[in-house]
Symmetry: C2
Subunit: 139 residues, 2 copies
Amino acid sequence: MKISFEPIGYVRTDAETVPRHWTVSDVKGFLDIKQEFTPGLKDIKTGDQIVVLFHFHKSPPFTPDMLTQIPPHRDREFGVFSICSPRRPNALGLSVVRVDAVHNNMIEVTGVDMLDGTPIIDIKPHILFREECPSHPKR
Amino acid sequence: MKISFEPIGYVRTDAETVPRHWTVSDVKGFLDIKQEFTPGLKDIKTGDQIVVLFHFHKSPPFTPDMLTQIPPHRDREFGVFSICSPRRPNALGLSVVRVDAVHNNMIEVTGVDMLDGTPIIDIKPHILFREECPSHPKR
């Protein structure tokens, strides 16, 4: 059983080296979303934190020895499902970035840890607490 | 350009109606992960909050009129990328659930808002603040 997605857009950044992780990145870039999806961006505002789901398109094929890995700066192996490594059974990435501006279908962001050209699969609100959910009855 | 994923496992729950959202769900269930991935679960512990990425496998095909939608309990339309609706350009879901126990390849969780049989694409740590990242230098 295969699950198929098509990119809704691509990451654009001038950074030549890959920032290691969004939690330590101050790199700026753009989420270049396909024009056809622009109406879906209308509630994304400057200052928002958004979740970007993307394809680790440069990752090598997954092999069973990657089920545990030693993350950078750590001294022991972790199970792959407890770390953010790009080498995982499904090459699906998640980053939280800050919105600096929205220009039509281009979202200007800070906190990029993806390569230029990375395919974007989805954008979601970043919900830290239950009440922040846009569909929460208390909103 | 297509991005292809294969399920790493499936959600199991007895709930007959779909909880509306993880932020308001107390439903219990299991993440039934394929045996071959069990070593990758070793650092998932009771009490952890984990991010589950899954396929909205029962969603209807996306059509442009779904680019804005009125979420439950709200009175205006939101752009699809600012809400958690299962009707989105790529039917990719994200929920945060609490781990109650781990039995080999079965993760017992609370906060399920997926249907029984939902294909799981990935599990990631739930990182609220930069310092919580397993690969953060301060850890």
